[in-house]
Each structure stands twice: as structure tokens, then as C-alpha cells.
């Protein structure tokens, strides 16, 4: 398991695209949108940065799914899935080894983007434990869904397209681009079915209202359950994924 995790991490670090999607582009978006919306008199500066920084952090966290899709589909097309299945490594350890580096990358991404927010925009962080728990839950759900998507999709392009629908559609409907309160009631109801909504509401609770663990437990539970569902789908889809692997 650790061998798979180490190898995946080494490979992933070399991927320049990942660095761009994970760190460079989110920073550009945050800078641009804070500049645009900080002149808005209807919202305080604190509300603006609390909407934009966690919002874009959540949105770009979902883009890790692209890297996961590429990693799994490549494994399948090169026959690595079948090759690893011929070794004594169990399926659970294979998935854990593949998953671990991506969860680390998402956690680093959240830390870097929030750190950027603190240094540049004086973003308050609230209760650190609640913030860490929420961030772990966010990293868990995006990588859990990423794993499910990576195992299910037939091609890289299909995975990239679906990720964009999930990340951008979820960002729009989940209130990452503008507060859900400004949206029609129907959309507000839809947004409650999206993990993006629960992640953002959790961060707002911690940052704006100084919320603690007791205030975000439902958000954490929903994110973790959604992540577990992704993991179960990935495990159940593994036999088909293995059959499709070259060998």
C-alpha cells in the first residue's frame, strides 16, 4: 500500500498541470474576484473574502478529480491495474495507496489557499480544530468522488468533462460563486443536495460566526457520508475496472 502511495506521490508531484490547477489558477481566481467584489457596498470586506476564498478553495478542490481520473485511466490502459492484481496486494490496499497522495495534495491545497487568504486578505480562520475537521472532510469527499469517477469512466476525456460539470455546476448551484441567499428558492433547495453547499456553509459558520465542532457536525457528517459513498462505488466498480485493464 505504501509503495503504491509513494509511487503515486512521486508521479503526481512531477505533473506540472496539477500544480497549475491546484495552486496557480485558484490564486489567480481569488485575486481577481476579491478585486472585483471588494468594492461592493452591500457586503462587508470580511463577508467578501469569506465567500470568495473558501468558495474557490472548495471549487478547485474538486478539480483533483481530473488528476485522479488521469492516474486511474492510465493505470488501466497500461495494464498496471492487472499487473498489480497479480501481486499479493489487496484491492483495498491498492485503492488506499492510490487515494492517499491525492488527499494529501488537497489538504496542502486548502492550507496554501487559506494561508494566502490570511497573509494577503487578513482572512480570519476561527476555530482551528473545526477548520481542520471540515478541511479533512472536504478532502475526503472530493477524493472519494474522484476515485469513484476514475474507476467508472471509460476515457480520460469523459472523466475531465464530468469533473468540470460537477465542479462548475456544483460551484454555481452550491453557492460558491455567489451566496445562495441571492438565488431563487428552487435553486436554494437544489443546493442543499450538493456537497459544495455544506462545505461552504461549514466554513462560513467557523470563520464568520466563530462556530465550533458542535456547529459543523452535520456538515462534516454529510461530507464524510458522501465521500464514503464514493469509496463504496469505486470498490464495487473495481471488478469491471480490472476486466477493462489491458494485460
Amino acid at each position: 500500500m505504501w509503495a503504491i502511495a509513494r509511487t503515486e506521490l512521486k508521479k503526481t508531484i512531477q505533473d506540472k498541470g496539477l500544480w497549475f490547477w491546484t495552486f496557480v489558477l485558484p490564486v489567480i481566481f481569488i485575486v481577481a474576484f476579491v478585486a472585483i467584489f471588494s468594492g461592493d457596498e452591500s457586503q462587508s470586506y470580511k463577508e467578501v473574502v469569506t465567500q470568495i476564498i473558501p468558495g474557490y478553495t472548495i471549487m478547485f478542490a474538486f478539480f483533483i478529480m481530473i488528476s485522479m481520473v488521469i492516474a486511474f485511466v492510465k493505470d488501466r490502459e497500461r495494464g498496471m491495474v492487472a499487473r498489480i492484481a497479480s501481486t499479493p496486494l489487496s484491492i483495498h490496499h491498492y485503492f488506499f495507496g492510490k487515494w492517499l497522495p491525492f488527499i494529501i495534495i488537497v489538504l496542502i491545497q486548502i492550507a496554501v489557499l487559506f494561508g494566502f487568504g490570511v497573509v494577503v486578505y487578513d482572512l480570519p480562520l476561527g476555530n482551528p480544530l473545526a477548520l481542520i475537521l471540515l478541511s479533512l472532510s472536504l478532502a475526503f469527499i472530493v477524493t472519494g468522488w474522484g476515485m469513484a469517477m476514475a474507476v467508472i469512466v471509460r476515457t480520460e476525456n469523459m472523466g475531465i468533462a464530468l469533473t468540470q460539470i460537477l465542479a462548475l455546476g456544483g460551484a454555481l448551484l452550491g453557492g460558491l460563486w455567489m451566496p445562495v441567499e441571492f438565488m431563487p428558492e428552487v435553486v436554494q433547495n437544489i443546493s442543499k443536495a450538493l456537497p459544495q453547499y455544506w462545505a461552504l456553509q461549514g466554513y462560513k459558520e467557523v470563520i464568520l460566526s466563530n462556530g465550533g465542532m458542535a456547529d459543523i457536525w452535520l456538515n462534516v457528517l454529510i461530507l464524510v457520508l458522501a465521500g464514503v459513498a464514493g469509496g463504496i462505488i469505486a470498490l464495487l466498480s473495481y471488478p469491471r475496472f480490472l476486466r477493462q485493464s489491458r494485460s
Binding site: 505504501w2 508521479k11 497500461r78 495494464g79 492487472a82 497479480s86 499479493p88 471488478p239 489491458r246 494485460s247
Partner: protein, 303 residues
């Protein structure tokens, strides 16, 4: 002893393997031959523990695959047809990955990596990224990754596809070395001459069924005795039929008879008397392909 007992595998309505049973003596090289879609790869995947959903059982020494899958996997080194390497990592990193997957660590792993790199002739390229390797070097590293844990059974699925003759020879010498060390090798290939050259016994598979199994000499004796090959401008089937059973082969004919040498003598006399000058007239030693043809009525290469 590896014992394969009544293996059946179905993909939807397609019967990929139909009641396959055979035994392989330890320390021998067993060749699996058949056209594309015959069921070779499915059988190789089952033998290497990749495909788990099948009927029947496989026994390796005292272990049964249904009960002792992990113990059997530890004994097997699988060399797939695809080159399963991490291109962006070094040869050493790839070997570490596969060594770790078989439970090798630390100094013991490094020692084995050095030995394997020496064995596959890549010691001076250990720190280079695989992406910079030639096809032959990648194939050798692909083999090396399966040898780290010193498996007693090595399963090779078309290990020489798409490489130059020099690399092929290099792979052959690795295989000969493994044979000399007493490894059991299960070898699948489209190249008949490779199977003839390397394998002690051969299994012929077609449409999911094991048509025949045996040592090369036994199969030849049973299905394809030496015959005569003749070609030339005035050579016709009617003329040859008086000497034995005739079948066309390439640009000439194969003449089968109980005593090819005697038939050769008679044919030479006949040609002299009738002033026929064959372009080629020779004893023809049948190959694996001929055995397969005699068994199935189809050519291996275009089946």
C-alpha cells in the same frame, strides 16, 4: 507440480475457456499456443491470479488457488504483454515499487535490485527514467520487475512483442538462465519458433478448448510426420498423387508418405525420367504451425 483442473470461464454468452485441464512439471517450460481470441490471455490471467471469477481449480504444489491464493501469488512472477512500468520514474524506482508489492524492503530489496539489474543488463541505466529507454530495454525491465521476489513460477505473456532481434536474444538468454535455475515457466507467444525453441511441452488452445498437450516430439510424431516439399513450373497435383497424399503449401506442395526418404528417391527418379526439373525438392520437417493445422484445420497466423 502445477495442476489445472477443469477450468471454465464465460464472458456473457461467450465460453472463453471450456473444461481446460492439464499438469505442468516443476522446473519445465510450458508453451501455450493458439490464435488470437483462443483463450490464451484469459488462461494466463487466471493462472496469474488476476481473474478470480471462474469455475474449476488450480493447484500449485500443496496449495489450492481457492484457499491459498496469496501463497500462490507469492510464488508467481507475472510478465504481461503490456509494458507495465511507470515511465516518468527511474528503473530503480520501478523495481522498488514491485519489490515492495511482494514484501521486499531495505537492504534485501536493494541487493535483489542489483542482482536483477545485472541479470537484465540494465545496471548502468538504473538511475535513468524509463521514458528514455528503448522498447527492448523496457521489455527487459518489465521482466526484471517480475523476478525480484525470486518466484518459482514465471508466467510470460508474449514477452517479445515488438522488439528487435538483439533484444529478443537478450530475453532468450534470461529465460535460459531461469530454466537453468530450475524455474517453472509458462510461456505464451504468437511466434511459433520461440515456443519450439524454448518450451519442453506445449499446449495448443483453440476456441477456448485445449486441443492437445505434449512434448514437441510427441506432438510431431502424432500429428505431423516429416514429408517432402516440392515446387516448380511443371509440378502438378495429379503427378504427385501417385507418391502419396498431397496438399498445397505456399508456392509448392507437401507430399506426405510413410517413408519420406524412399518417396524422395522415387520422386527424383521420376523427375529424371520425365525431364522435370523442380525448383525446390527437400525433406520438410513440420513445425508447430503444421500440428495446429492438422488439429484444427486452420492456420495459426490467420485463424
Amino acid at each position: 507440480m502445477i495442476s489445472v483442473e477443469n477450468i471454465n470461464k464465460q464472458y456473457g454468452s461467450v465460453q472463453a475457456l471450456d473444461s481446460i485441464s492439464f499438469k505442468i512439471e516443476e522446473g519445465t517450460c510450458f508453451g501455450l499456443v493458439g490464435p488470437n481470441g483462443a483463450g490464451k490471455s484469459t488462461l494466463m490471467k487466471i493462472l496469474s491470479g488476476i481473474l478470480l471469477n471462474f469455475n474449476g481449480d488450480i493447484q500449485v504444489r500443496e496449495w489450492k488457488v481457492s484457499k491459498d491464493r496469496l501463497k500462490i501469488k507469492q510464488q508467481i512472477g507475472y510478465i504481461p504483454q503490456e509494458i507495465c512500468l511507470e515511465d516518468t520514474l527511474t528503473a530503480q524506482d520501478n523495481l522498488i515499487l514491485f519489490g515492495n508489492l511482494y514484501g521486499l524492503k531495505g537492504k534485501a530489496l536493494q541487493l535483489r535490485i542489483d542482482e536483477v539489474l545485472d541479470q537484465i543488463g540494465l545496471k548502468d541505466r538504473a538511475k535513468d527514467k524509463v521514458i528514455t529507454f528503448s522498447g527492448g530495454m523496457k521489455r527487459r525491465l518489465n521482466i526484471g520487475c517480475a523476478l525480484l521476489h525470486k518466484p518459482s513460477i514465471i508466467i510470460m505473456d508474449e514477452p517479445t512483442v515488438g522488439i528487435d532481434p538483439q533484444s529478443r536474444n537478450s530475453i532468450f538468454s534470461i529465460i535460459h538462465q531461469l530454466k537453468a535455475e530450475g524455474s517453472t515457466i509458462i510461456y505464451s507467444s504468437h511466434y511459433m519458433e520461440e515456443v519450439e525453441q524454448l518450451c519442453d511441452s506445449i499446449g495448443l488452445i483453440d476456441k477456448g478448448q485445449l486441443m492437445e498437450i505434449g512434448r514437441m516430439e510427441e506432438l510431431l510424431e502424432k500429428y505431423a510426420m516429416p514429408s517432402l516439399f516440392i515446387s516448380g513450373d511443371n509440378i502438378e497435383t495429379e503427378m504427385l498423387q501417385r507418391f502419396g497424399k498431397v496438399e498445397s503449401k505456399g508456392n509448392g506442395y507437401l507430399l506426405n508418405s510413410d517413408d519420406p526418404l524412399l518417396t524422395l528417391e522415387k520422386l527424383v527418379t521420376y523427375c529424371r525420367e520425365h525431364r522435370i526439373e523442380p525448383r525446390r525438392l527437400e525433406l520438410y520437417h513440420p513445425r508447430l504451425e503444421d500440428i495446429f493445422f492438422n488439429l484444427t484445420g486452420t492456420q495459426l497466423r490467420d485463424a
